[in-house]
């Protein structure tokens, strides 16, 4: 039994790292712009398709495709902020919600038009390879996804801590008016933060592709997980999202083994309801 537990912990943490990368962009965007991006999952879907196309046409490995996807998704997010989000910043929340939900619907329907409803997947040489450590095994694509996710999250945290633009992003999240009075260009910084958030979910899509199918509505599956993680992590804490991602990964691993893999969504939702009842500010939330 002890060995099973350790194996479940390994699987859960590997999955959790990917979940953290999946969610951290949503947290960043909410923390800085105070906008809930309901199209988050659809950005993941687009990135999975882009990685799929790069693999199919150019034989580009999904992990290698990050060097394309990260800059393209940053610019994609930057442009979406300028065109769609910026005009809505002072609108009532309902308008913002409808705009991002609408954006997500457009994305998934365009994907349906272009790619049909088929499930697609890539077959890489390492797809089914496992590393064996004594009695434990580690899936290679999951390990790589985990390592890339953790490396990107660490890079993001260092960027926010050390660079001027990163500090401007944090300043804006903490005290908007003072940030303006310090000479921070609010609209430019918002667009950069949105671009970074979208680049993160784009990266999550690329590293997810070797592990999962892509289809036009795959986003809704993962945005559910992302929202639970963001709320568990405390809405606007990036470190909170990292820890919450790992926790959700562990919960998924354990509930899949001890209850049933088909009930994992039920487990999330029960957890979600308990958080909202007993700790509505999340694990690391202040407000």
């Amino acid at each position: 039994m002890g060995e099973v537990i350790i194996q479940l912990v390994i699987n859960g943490l590997l999955l959790g790292g990917l979940y953290a990368l999946l969610s951290i962009g949503l947290t960043l965007i909410f923390g800085v712009l105070e906008i809930v991006n309901f199209a988050h999952g659809e950005f993941l879907m687009i990135s999975m398709y882009l990685a799929f196309l790069l693999f199919s046409f150019f034989g580009m490995d999904p992990y290698l495709s990050l060097i394309v996807i990260l800059p393209v998704f940053f610019l994609f997010g930057y442009a979406i902020e300028k065109i769609i989000i910026k005009p809505l910043l002072n609108d009532p929340p309902l308008n913002q919600i409808f705009a991002t939900i609408g954006l997500g619907l457009i994305f998934s329907n365009v994907a349906l038009l272009l790619f049909k409803a088929d499930f697609r997947t890539v077959k890489t040489p390492y797809s089914d390879v496992n590393l064996i450590f004594g009695n434990f095994f580690v899936s290679v694509p999951r390990l790589i996804a985990f390592l890339i996710a953790i490396a990107l999250i660490a890079a993001l945290l260092v960027y926010l801590k050390k660079t001027f633009t990163g500090k401007a992003i944090r300043a804006l999240a903490q005290q908007r008016k003072a940030a303006m009075l310090m000479g921070i260009d609010v609209h430019r910084t918002y667009a950069i933060a949105f671009g970074i958030g979208i680049a993160c979910v784009g990266a999550a899509g690329a590293v997810l592709l070797p592990l999962f199918f892509v289809f036009p509505t795959v986003g809704s599956l993962f945005s559910l997980i992302a929202f639970v993680i963001v709320i568990l992590g405390g809405y606007n804490s990036l470190a909170g999202s990292l820890v919450a991602g790992l926790i959700i990964g562990l919960i998924e691993g354990f509930s899949g083994f001890f209850i049933s893999p088909h009930l994992k969504e039920v487990v999330y939702f029960v957890l979600f309801i308990f958080i909202l009842i007993f700790r509505p500010t999340g694990l690391f939330g202040k407000r």
Binding site: F164, K167, A168, R170, A171, Q174, Q175, K177, A178, A179, M180, L181, M182, G183, I184, D185, V186
Partner: protein, 244 residues
Amino acid sequence: MPILGVHIMQLLGLNNVTTKYGDLTAIRDVSINVEEGHIISIVGSNGAGKTTLLNTISGVLPSAGGTITFAGKEISHLPPHRIVEEGIIQVPEGRLLFPDMTVLENLELGAFNRRSRKDIPALLEAVFNYFPKLQDRSDQMAGTLSGGEQQMVAIGRGLMAKPKLLMMDEPSLGLSPLVVKTVFETISKIKSDGITILLVEQNVLQSLMISDDVYVLENGSIILNGQGRELMDDPRVREAYLGI
């Protein structure tokens, strides 16, 4: 501007500036003149429009009429970050520090604009010279400081921006009498370092004493203007703001 005698340059000029919140006019046709090297005070009761006036100059609120010029250049419609780049820095009411950043990070963010960024080490030294206590606290989170220390960080953060004009909104609000005294001493020291100051204060007597020129704002309009000492003898000012 005098034809004879000392030629003093106008640094900031407001000409019939009006600011509205929707249909509500918060300040109406306000004209003020800030000369280089002076301390100019704006006094008035709560809700008179003092903070609105500073936020209009900073570009945080759009003006609905009139012109604002700074060092001869019209800045009425510039966004806030461009106004900071010009050298107008506001130390806002209630300090508005970045609570989850250290004192040092708060100060560094003060020097965010392009003019100041490269001079951060020298600027930090100058600010620690003003407020030696902040050097010991530089790794502490700003949100955990006392009110007086927070005000020091707020003023220090403003100085980090290399202001030509420093606008201070109620810097003594909510502080103990001893700390209030230090704040006013600091303001005089900043002036003697050659920085022009636009001061909004509810501590009328103290601000009249250190100001070269004073404007009294009531219901969004300037009703009186004069030198600080002069207004201290004005019966209207004595009754309404000094309570004597």
